[in-house]
Amino acid sequence: MMTVTFGLFAVSAFFLWQRKSEWGWAAVLIALILGIVIFMGDVDFSANLGVQL
């Protein structure tokens, strides 16, 4: 999933460079949502809501 996230940025940056496309902000939001999903998967919620107390 991390690969897809970076790939999304690569495609968006390419279109920004070549076509001056203005939809890149939406791609960033989608990539950040993917990042949040990855982050939630990385946290161990079994103890203390994932916080080492």
Partner: protein, 201 residues
Amino acid sequence: MKDGILSPAAARVLNLVGMLAMIAVLIGAYVYQFSYRELPCTLCQLQRVAMVAVAFGAAMNVMLGPSPRHYGVCLVSVLFGLAISIRQTLLHINPFFDSKTGLPTLAATSNPPFGQPVFGLHLYVWGVVMFAAVILAVGVVLLFNSQFKANAPEPAWLARLAALSVALLVIVVSLETLTTFMECGFGACPNDGGWDWWIFR
């Protein structure tokens, strides 16, 4: 002054400098990764995602002209990156904690910091400093309304410089995509910081 204190062209130059700074940090992380032979962990990769997103917001300002929407992209991305780097800093802030048993311990090496320090701080702590600095920089630049003037003339040298710098961003992000695929494939990334590339297993 005709264009106000900060003209659209000057704001684009400032964004270009910020974008190049982000690219420099990403390249620095690469140098660190290959010189210490340490693959980035999941949280480290997510901080790189945030840096790329901040650089992308700045790139939009550089290519399309300054816009509150593009600064918004930077701020949302930086908030994401700050949350990740603070999380990782807190995970390693107490060395007297055994992360395997979940109990306090007197053995200081039971919860060691991740990776090698750079100028005395670990990369995730530098992440906190850097993301906070970006918030300050974007906040200060947003104070100047004159940069948002519509139909501002675009100097030819700036258009060429913008295209070159965004091309550099494309190259760096493509490299990130390639190395992330080599490290993680399409699944979860390893968290042990070793040199175990998914593609060579």
